[in-house]
């Protein structure tokens, strides 16, 4: 139900440092405003009633996509999903990220939402989190005792909860350079095209001499936070991957998932679909990896 947003004080700091200090001094009473899609909608439902809203929208220099697939990529805290979608660098070098963003339907939501905000909301259904996980992305967190850089898989704690503490702000996503003999793919299952995922899966594989030398599998919507299917990764890593092994890895991934039943899907169905999506994603990633190896051969 929609209600008038409860009163609060809007503060618009000019620097990250100032914002971090405000967040430290106001603690639980403060929230960060970036794109606002999640924050404002929850304030409207009175699900959260912050006394202070710290907007980082007017802090200069937070909206950028820098670098490319050869040197790695940096994405700023105010960079929107729409900017990622329209970035030719991302489409060319990080196709999996481009594809995940493209599948988010509403242009308006993508125009407003920031990539960092999508992560900070910490919904297990994020399509961005598993994709960034298999790309081995790291997050830069400023403020607090010292700035730090953490792997994305260590960032989420629970539904709606991350490791970010009062006084800290995520300011940047860092994605390493793309290695030539790798391929990555993302699949999601949703009730209709515009919906959020009931299950999603991202896979990154590396191939050398017909052997899988690198495997990362991340799953969304099947646990309180994004998870890595590490035993499934082990199943294919260091092996010559054939159809039977792919099916085995997909089954292992399903075993590793811990879905719940909610209004989008049942736990049983989600588990079965993990196997299907992981199977498809491994196949697609392998295909891309071998294509990338062939292209390397031509050069």
């Amino acid at each position: 139900m929609h209600r008038k947003i409860r009163p609060f004080e809007l503060i618009e700091p000019a620097t990250v440092k100032e914002a971090a200090q405000l967040l430290a001094s106001h603690g639980d009473k403060a929230r960060v405003l970036a794109g606002g899609v999640d924050l404002v909608s929850r304030m409207m439902r009175w699900q959260i009633k912050p006394e202070y809203v710290i907007s980082i929208r007017r802090i200069p220099g937070l909206d950028y996509i820098e670098g490319d697939g050869k040197i790695g990529l940096k994405i700023g805290a105010m960079t929107t999903l729409r900017s990622v979608e329209l970035s030719q660098v991302i489409e060319r070098y990080y196709a999996i990220l481009y594809e995940a963003v493209r599948q988010i339907a509403s242009i308006q939501v993508k125009t407003m939402s920031t990539v960092v905000g999508n992560l900070c909301v910490s919904t297990p259904a994020s399509d961005i989190a598993p994709v960034l996980c298999v790309l081995e992305a790291k997050l830069k967190i400023e403020g607090g005792k010292e700035d730090k850089i953490v792997a994305i898989e260590d960032f989420f704690v629970d539904v709606g909860k991350t490791i970010v503490e009062p006084g800290q702000i995520v300011t940047e996503i860092q994605i390493p350079a793309v290695s030539l003999q790798t391929g990555a793919a993302f699949f999601k299952l949703k009730p209709v095209k515009a919906s959020i995922s009931k299950v999603n899966a991202a896979v990154m594989v590396g191939i050398k001499d017909d052997t899988c030398n690198k495997a990362k599998i991340a799953l969304g919507s099947v646990a309180p936070k994004m998870i890595r299917a590490m035993r499934a990764e082990e199943t294919i890593r260091g092996k010559m991957v054939d159809e039977a092994l792919i099916i085995r890895a997909a089954e292992v991934a399903a075993e590793e998932s811990k879905p719940i039943t909610d209004l989008r899907s049942t736990a049983e169905y989600r588990k079965e679909m993990v196997a299907i999506l992981v199977k498809r994603a491994i196949k697609a990633a392998l295909e891309r990896a071998s294509k990338s190896e062939q292209e390397r051969g031509k050069q």
Binding site: K4, L33, R45, S55, R82, A105, I107, M112, A194
Partner: protein, 160 residues
């Protein structure tokens, strides 16, 4: 809650308004400025797109935008598209093709279509559907809306 004086630029006109931080852009437009073409649909879910306006040319949901955060930026509502009593080609095509039934989604649809055509003057049908994916219509079934945007592109390229 403190009221603060803020300057808003809506359809090229400047407005000085004393607002509180909890006022959304939708509330500012409809309840304060009396610019009621922008519609209140799902309000706060980000699903329906009826409240779509352009901020610096980009389509956003005014119901999820705090007014104070867009002060000084160029806001375009449906009222700002027609120039000198001449409709925008998208508006004209919506009429010509019968792409309007109850009309409630129309302002948002037209603005999303206008944003698309400004960026891509010759979109394909698929590109139009994608651009309008964030705008729900409960009457038309979308066919005539897509046809209208195609026709507007053909007739005008970049307009508005």
């Amino acid at each position: 809650m403190k009221k603060e004086l803020a300057t808003f630029i809506v359809n090229g006109e400047q407005y000085e308004e004393a607002i509180t931080p909890n006022m959304t852009l939708l509330e500012l437009l409809r309840e304060r400025l009396g610019i009621t073409g922008t519609k209140q649909g799902c309000t706060g879910s980000g699903n329906c797109g009826a409240c779509t306006v352009l901020v610096d040319g980009n389509p956003v949901l005014s119901c999820l935008t705090l007014a104070a955060t867009v002060r000084g930026q160029n806001i375009t509502t449906i009222e700002g598209l027609a120039k000198d009593n001449v409709l925008d080609p998208v508006q004209k095509a919506f009429i010509d093709y019968g792409a309007i039934q109850c009309g409630f989604c129309t302002p948002g649809m037209v603005l999303s279509a206008r944003a698309l055509l400004n960026r891509n003057p010759n979109p394909t049908k698929a590109e139009i559907k994608e651009a309008l994916a964030g705008n729900l219509c409960r009457c038309t079934g979308y066919v005539k809306i897509v046809d209208a945007v195609l026709a507007a592109a053909k007739n005008s390229g970049k307009g508005g």
